[in-house]
Symmetry: C2
Amino acid sequence: MLIPQAMAYAMLAGLPPEIGLYASILPLIVYGLFGSSNFLSVGPVAITSLMVASTIAETSACGFTGGAIIVGVMLALISGLMLLLMGLARLGFLMNFISHPVIIGFISAAAILIALSQLKHVLGIAITYDISTLGILPYTIANSGLINVVTVTIGSGAIALLVLANKPLEKLLLSLRVNNNVAAIICKLGPIVVIVLGALTVKIFALDQTHSVAITGSIPSGLPIFDLSQFDFSIVKQLLMPALIISLVGFVESMSEAKALASKRRQKVEPNQELVALGLANISASVTGACPVTGGFSRSAVNYSAGANSGLASIITAIFIAISLLFFTPWFYYLPKAVLAATIIVAIVNLIDVKGMIETWRYNKADSASLIITFLTVIAFGIELGIVAGIVVSISLYLLRTSMPHIAIVGRVDASEHFRNVKHYDVTVYRDTLIIRVDESLYFANSRYLEDRLLIAVAEQKQLKNIVLICSAINFIDSSAVEALTNLIAELRDSGVTFHLAEVKVPVLRQLQRSELLQQLAPGKVFMSTHDAVQELCE
Amino acid sequence: MLIPQAMAYAMLAGLPPEIGLYASILPLIVYGLFGSSNFLSVGPVAITSLMVASTIAETSACGFTGGAIIVGVMLALISGLMLLLMGLARLGFLMNFISHPVIIGFISAAAILIALSQLKHVLGIAITYDISTLGILPYTIANSGLINVVTVTIGSGAIALLVLANKPLEKLLLSLRVNNNVAAIICKLGPIVVIVLGALTVKIFALDQTHSVAITGSIPSGLPIFDLSQFDFSIVKQLLMPALIISLVGFVESMSEAKALASKRRQKVEPNQELVALGLANISASVTGACPVTGGFSRSAVNYSAGANSGLASIITAIFIAISLLFFTPWFYYLPKAVLAATIIVAIVNLIDVKGMIETWRYNKADSASLIITFLTVIAFGIELGIVAGIVVSISLYLLRTSMPHIAIVGRVDASEHFRNVKHYDVTVYRDTLIIRVDESLYFANSRYLEDRLLIAVAEQKQLKNIVLICSAINFIDSSAVEALTNLIAELRDSGVTFHLAEVKVPVLRQLQRSELLQQLAPGKVFMSTHDAVQELCE
């Protein structure tokens, strides 16, 4: 199954099918030797292939005439070097800055674009175009006059069979009391049967001759050779940004898979080692003339369910693919492109995560905003801008939230030592002492906000003599906040209000001792507890 | 004093001196009508003038031949529109994202660059060059053969007098028992005396003729006219970025001044109204052929100490400048450029905030890093890149800090209900229950870090049955963190460890109820207090 998949993803990337197979030999072996995951299998995957396709279109629009293969090779080389360097610099933690909603939005939108990009193959529209956004849809419709009816029949038949061969077939087999494992194996064979059926149909009826059904055609037989002549350093600058995004997205996809598989067996995956292994795998892809690779789910899951528990599985797979390339390439000749496209479409539609979207929407509107913006940007402006927009928006929304922290005026619950928000509890407040709690660490973006809120509170309570700031939720105070607090203390003192702190955590207090704030505080004090403060100031 | 200052800043911007005066008429009146600060006085200021100078140099290097004045006018127009739109969109809060260390580093480095850029006038090196980085220094040294000895004498004499006329003169006068106020007024008159002396020296000895001392020369008499012919929309795209940065920096400088002055009299300044007022002031500058303006300290302080308490002061100042333009421009003819440069240098050196740098260094190394990177980037690559680098670095360091929160394993203090870090206190821990506290809200960038730390803790304690996560410092959990926690709960359950939460704040608990996390938690529980958890799980 890996063979038609690799060919299909090469086709998706706008490369000859054999490139997909080349990308599944040496990189697999290299990853098997260096990777920290025992189950991950690398090769071309759908989303990075779409990015390769859009980069090829861009470079050719910018006047690069070296051809698609060189762009693919250079992307593999540059992104391999980037991954390797990031791994050596231990930058694996950077992937933490891509939030879950951004990943959901990004992958779902990319899946739609990928499915749309394969539509022309299923419809048999024999033209090429370089659009990697939703703009592909009206373009395809405009060319619907070119639909090849025989191809549509084969393509949609393949889609129907692939869908049926999955869950419905498994259910049927189980209801017929077939053994669980046997049923699973039969379902796994489904796609292969569909592909073989497709190829046989074309061959028997010579549909490629009589009805112009697009086929894979002849694939050069033989192993990829070590070939540096395909390096072209004149386009490096143009490829830096696409390569960075391919690296990033490939790494995130790969790590998600590796972690999901590893956690089932209580193993750990080391992000920096993964970066190094993926980097070397991509560099090895480039020197054998192949395109960027990463760890993909469908391929890795095969390894996992086959019980592979060392990098050996990857190496055995690589050998099988090499043997196919040596002896069996003529067998792929009649493979209809429509069937390959159908396998992509059926596989990719599962990546549209509607459940994740609904859960995010229910949980939090800011997270939904990141998701929706990522999704729409990918759909409208393409993959690269989409992931960048998603990261920028999610970080901005986080900054925005922490810049306007929750600030509560609190009062004492009965005669207890507990203090709660006056809005939610029936508590005792004091006429000349305001007790206020801020639920966030103080840093440059929120210190002026706190200052403004406190000054408003002071203006509203004319008889005020003391403000007690409860610092129990403050884990850090940066120097901008110290500056703002120091100014605030002076301003309040000028207007006859003394500022106090309470419940300052030990590390925060130690930090404050290195500034002039505590000297400036006098006659204000630092109280151990809010209770202490109230006892001294109000009783 | 505002008149030579405005001329000097126009010269710094690479514009004819009268532009500085034009910028001090209509904008002052407009700001006086719309601004929320009673003391702020707008006009050309040193830092924005330096940015105008570097933009003029860039556009001319990019082949714009329309001349410096048009660039100045367009910058005023674009940045005016930007400020106005930001004010109407209520984006004043964005200035909070420029941290105090970034401002210190930026202004100090800009002050050095400004002083260096004026060096050639003081040295009398009569060549023009367009460098706004430290590269100006070797360039000036290379041309030191062109030094005009008479000009150096005048320039350094002016610097010496200006320095002496400040604090030393005030001390002397006070020691001679001169009245405080009188001493202050005499010191304020110092710069004017120096300027008049300079002009008289040149005129009397005809130094401009005999020794080629550079003078201001003739300034066209008459008021600025309403003139849209200087708008050139062909360079708008090139000016967008510089105009944005001029707007940002101008706004920050203006707001800092306005707040500092207002707080002394217990008044509030409204950021969004300030944005609108500054925007209109800049648009009014552009239609009268002037350069960008903003609120500067030295000019505003004059208003303040003169007791100005309404926008009227600005309007009166504007009328005085208009009268000077109508009748007194010949008086400025013999003003030596070296003296104007000397006034800039003496004024600007005060902006180098060595004390702030030392305090930041002592307080926090991450903040110092933002400061140093901003400072060095401004010095080496210029003002625009510097402020951008500063903002990016300070936000990145904040994200980095929150992405690796403090996580403490805690134990019980004696038989109390208090739980403290096992590293700092002698506390009771439990063999089958791990109690852990995370001191930060959970969001996408730190949830995987927490997950990793918890899994390591579990791996180290083989007999573990329960983990209790104390959430007292968690003010928010975003959907990425919910996803990570849900996965973690399932992973821990698979390895026989039950996950519990304790001390979850009410708003956080309400938020979690909208996700599936609480259902997934079972048999784990949400405990009101850590004490409750220990009582149920360990006793």
